[in-house]
């Protein structure tokens, strides 16, 4: 029984890990193609989810600001938009955002040190967070695009018959795992087998060489940030459905950081394996060690694990070896 309970926790941890991997993937993509460590990925997920809810419910953007400036009381257009159409619109907005970021920020920071770019994305994260709040309001929003939720009874009865112990598994987690798997496969396929994907990898390998064979750096960057925006949208839908669209959603980015450190910044498999290890590790640690030290170990376990791991292997599990020359 104890063992079965532990394995249920393990399973739940693995599925939480898939969600971390999903966010981490957005990081890896941008890092590989442009050397930018995008701290704003989590806020992009929040922004995407907010926009999606805003469009679906027909809210007026900047309603708060308009009301305060002109002394009127507008809140919504009075229509609702079906889920799939709203998702498509949001995806378009994320592409627009990618273009804006490239034009206003990245273009001017070419050739800067990675750490400067990292700090710029922290600024970007604050800006986007403020923008999202001003546009759609800071209230907690319910997001429902029709994904199934709640305890899966099939799994519970099946495991009950088979093992004598019913596993509690959220149907949303199962769907999230499936969607994440499809997304990962699609991304890997894209980067391996399409022309744009190859161009992306070329840019990642060597900016200068890629430019000299006629690859447009700016197009690749816009493309990559759009893909990252799309991944953020998917992550935002999953997490938003699970726990409501609110500020804490942007904190999943903070969870994805140790995932990346563990897996290595440049590796897509690293992001997946890292996510699984962290998701599994923190749930098990909380279960076995948590009660002894007062609980809530999930706040720091991932970081301390990644920190200790990095001391012994600075490039992460699958990262490229860091070679330094003077």
């Amino acid at each position: 029984m104890e063992f079965l309970y532990a394995s249920e926790i393990l399973l739940n941890g693995l599925m939480a890990g898939v969600m971390y991997s999903l966010v981490a993937l957005g990081f890896v993509l941008i890092y590989k193609a442009s050397g930018v460590f995008n701290y704003a990925q989590g806020v992009m997920a929040l922004f995407a989810a907010m926009t999606l809810v805003g469009i679906m419910e027909g809210r007026v953007p900047f309603a708060h600001l308009i009301n305060a400036t002109f002394g009127v009381h507008v809140s919504s257009f009075g229509w609702t938009v079906p889920g799939l159409f709203a998702i498509a619109l949001t995806a378009l907005i994320m592409v627009g955002l990618a273009i804006a970021i490239e034009k206003l920020v990245l273009k001017h920071l070419v050739g800067q040190e990675p750490i400067i770019l990292f700090m710029a994305t922290i600024g970007l994260a604050w800006f986007l967070e403020g923008l999202g709040d001003v546009m759609w309001g800071a209230d907690v929003k319910v997001l429902d695009v029709g994904l199934p939720q709640g305890i899966s009874e099939t799994v519970e009865t099946a495991t009950n018959n088979w093992l004598g112990y019913g596993f509690f598994i959220d149907r949303l987690d199962i769907w999230a795992t499936l969607i994440a798997a499809v997304l990962v496969a699609a991304l890997v396929g894209f980067s391996q087998y399409t022309k744009q994907g190859r161009a992306m990898r070329a840019v990642a390998d060597d900016h200068q060489a890629a430019l000299s064979v006629g690859i447009s750096l700016r197009f690749i960057w816009i493309m990559v940030w759009s893909i990252a925006g799309f991944v953020a949208l998917v992550a935002g839908i999953m997490w938003g459905t699970k726990s409501g669209v609110q500020f804490s959603l942007s904190l999943i980015a903070l969870k994805a950081l140790p995932v990346l450190m563990l897996g290595g910044f440049t590796s897509i498999p690293g992001a997946i394996v890292g996510g699984l290890i962290i998701g599994m590790g923190e749930k098990l640690f909380e279960y076995f060690v948590g009660p002894m030290v007062g609980g809530a170990t999930e706040n720091w376990f991932a970081y301390v694990l990644a920190l200790l791991f990095l001391v012994f292997r600075p490039q992460g599990l699958f990262g490229e070896r860091i070679i330094e020359r003077v």
């Binding site: 305060a68 400067i116 600024g123 986007l128 403020g130 001003v134 903070l254 001391v311």
Partner: protein
């Protein structure tokens, strides 16, 4: 015209190497110090002390600390909030355990304890670099805040989980606790800020500071010319944490009076202080003050203009503040990576030649 060097002769190497080589500049600083010490304490009221001056001085100390680590030694840290929490809880434990000892000694000891903790978390910097390290310092942030929330010994088993500063006096004046006057708070923070700025300025000018800068500019090359990366990096972490710890101790004991680890020292505090350093200017003591002043004054300004003048709701003003700060960070990183300090230096250059353009 305003910054004339003509007639400003130097006859010794000592004169040549002083901190403020231009006489007018030097006198300007003396004048500011005189006003800060002699005039402001007499006219200060509790609004100015609590909304502007005391937080400005405390954040300036923290910003100098982070600037030493990030601006001078090149090690980006996102764990500042956690280290401030160490300072706050250390001073709390010391104040309650040894009530007879003067508070200044407690604050300095709290800084020393933070320095030790900072060195401990700085150890990985020998192996990992850049943003790997930046992310690794988040471990300090989350772990320390969690520790102070979960271990009752740190908050003396109080029911609320908060820490409250007991009243302590200096020369018969209350400097902590509810009876503290605005000018007492202000003067304590001012003394610490001035003394620490002086220490930081001279450390960064000397051999220690030059070692830090060598590590920042190119660590492998620095190692080859004989800078020991171990001592350089760890001393940067120690000195920086010492400053940050003192800022945390003052923030809790003098300014807030009561604190709760996850609220007062959360990750947003780390970012706020990093932003002060970026906006003020990486690698500049003056910049730390300028950045702290800017980010302390901005919310006050927005609140006065947007909320009081236009009658906008407070939350909207807060969101717009987020947008402005975020945009400014990107702006400064793109246009002027050396921040307000560089803008001020450029202004001085222009004023020295004014009214002639070249």
């Amino acid at each position: 015209m305003f910054y004339r060097e003509a007639g400003d002769f130097k006859t010794s190497y000592r004169d040549d190497g002083q901190t403020f080589p231009i006489r007018l500049d030097r006198w300007g600083y003396y004048a500011i110090l005189a006003v800060a010490f002699l005039v402001v304490p007499l006219v200060i009221d509790s609004y100015w002390a609590n909304a502007v001056l005391v937080p400005f001085l405390i954040y300036a100390i923290a910003a100098i600390g982070l600037n030493i680590l990030t601006g001078y030694a090149g090690q980006v840290s996102l764990g500042t909030g956690g280290f401030m929490a160490v300072g706050a809880y250390a001073v709390y434990k010391l104040m309650t355990a040894f009530p007879g000892v003067p508070i200044v000694i407690h604050v300095l000891l709290a800084g020393a304890i933070t320095a030790v903790v900072g060195m401990l978390f700085g150890l990985p910097s020998l192996r990992i670099k850049g943003f790997y390290l930046a992310v690794a310092t988040l471990a300090a942030q989350f772990f320390l805040v969690w520790l102070f929330n979960k271990v009752p010994w740190f908050y003396n088993y109080s029911a609320s989980g908060q820490i409250n500063a007991p009243e302590r006096t200096m020369f018969g004046w209350a400097v902590t606790g509810p009876a503290t006057t605005a000018s007492a708070k202000y003067l304590v923070c001012l003394c610490f800020a001035v003394a620490l700025a002086w220490v930081a300025r001279n450390l960064t000018r000397g051999s220690v500071g030059r070692k830090w800068m060598a590590i920042r500019d190119m660590d492998i090359a620095a190692e080859i010319i004989g800078v020991n990366p171990l001592t350089a990096k760890l001393s940067a972490f120690a000195v920086s944490s010492f400053f940050v710890g003192i800022a945390g101790a003052l923030l809790f004991a003098v300014y807030l009076g009561a604190a709760e680890a996850s609220e007062a020292f959360g990750i947003n505090k780390s970012f706020l202080i990093l932003f002060m350093v970026i906006i003020g200017g990486l690698g500049s003591i003056f910049g730390s003050f300028a950045g702290a002043a800017f980010l302390v004054l901005l919310p006050v300004f927005l609140k006065n203009v947007l909320v009081a003048q236009f009658g906008w709701p407070t939350d909207l003003a807060a969101h717009i503040e987020l947008m402005i700060v975020g945009a400014l960070i990107v702006f400064f990183l793109i246009v002027e990576p050396h921040g307000l300090a560089r803008l001020w230096a450029l202004t001085k250059e222009k004023l020295r030649l004014w009214p002639f353009p070249h």
